[in-house]
Subunit: 90 residues, 2 copies
């Protein structure tokens, strides 16, 4: 692994870790009311394109860390849909 | 500009736009109580390293879009510090 890979992986690990508090907050409060579908949609589409960019550029750090961020934010979206639906049915 | 650059710039524009609602929310509510300094710190350091990675990799999209995201989140941090200080002095 090159020094450049280590730099990219460190960058990606830090930006990915910074989403964990948001995720834990949703799990704890069982609510994601304060998140907008618009912002989440923009972000998920953007991160998907970053994964594609990482593949095209043969950059392992961009591919790997954005794939993890994508999975995290997709989980946040699913949690939000689940919680919003539960509230409507109650 | 290559097709790869367009892909990267589109990805970066989408992920950067998704921070705007957060910024507007802080400006509107004049409060950033619900944001943690920890998450912001992780994110700002991570994005700084992405800028460095973009320079080292000679990737204009990574450099440019992360520089904008860094400026946005640095503004969010300054707004949070300002609002938190004002509350203490009141």
């Amino acid at each position: 692994m090159s020094a450049l890979d280590v730099l990219g992986l460190t960058a990606g690990t830090l930006t990915t870790i910074s989403f964990m508090p948001q995720m834990l907050r949703i799990l704890k409060r069982r609510s994601a009311d304060d998140l907008s579908y618009g912002a989440l949609a923009f972000f998920i589409i953007g991160i998907s394109l970053w994964v594609w960019y990482g593949i095209a550029l043969h950059s392992m750090p961009i591919l790997l860390t954005n794939a993890v961020t994508l999975a995290l934010n997709f989980s946040i979206l699913v949690l939000k849909i689940t919680h919003d639906r539960r509230r409507v049915s109650e």
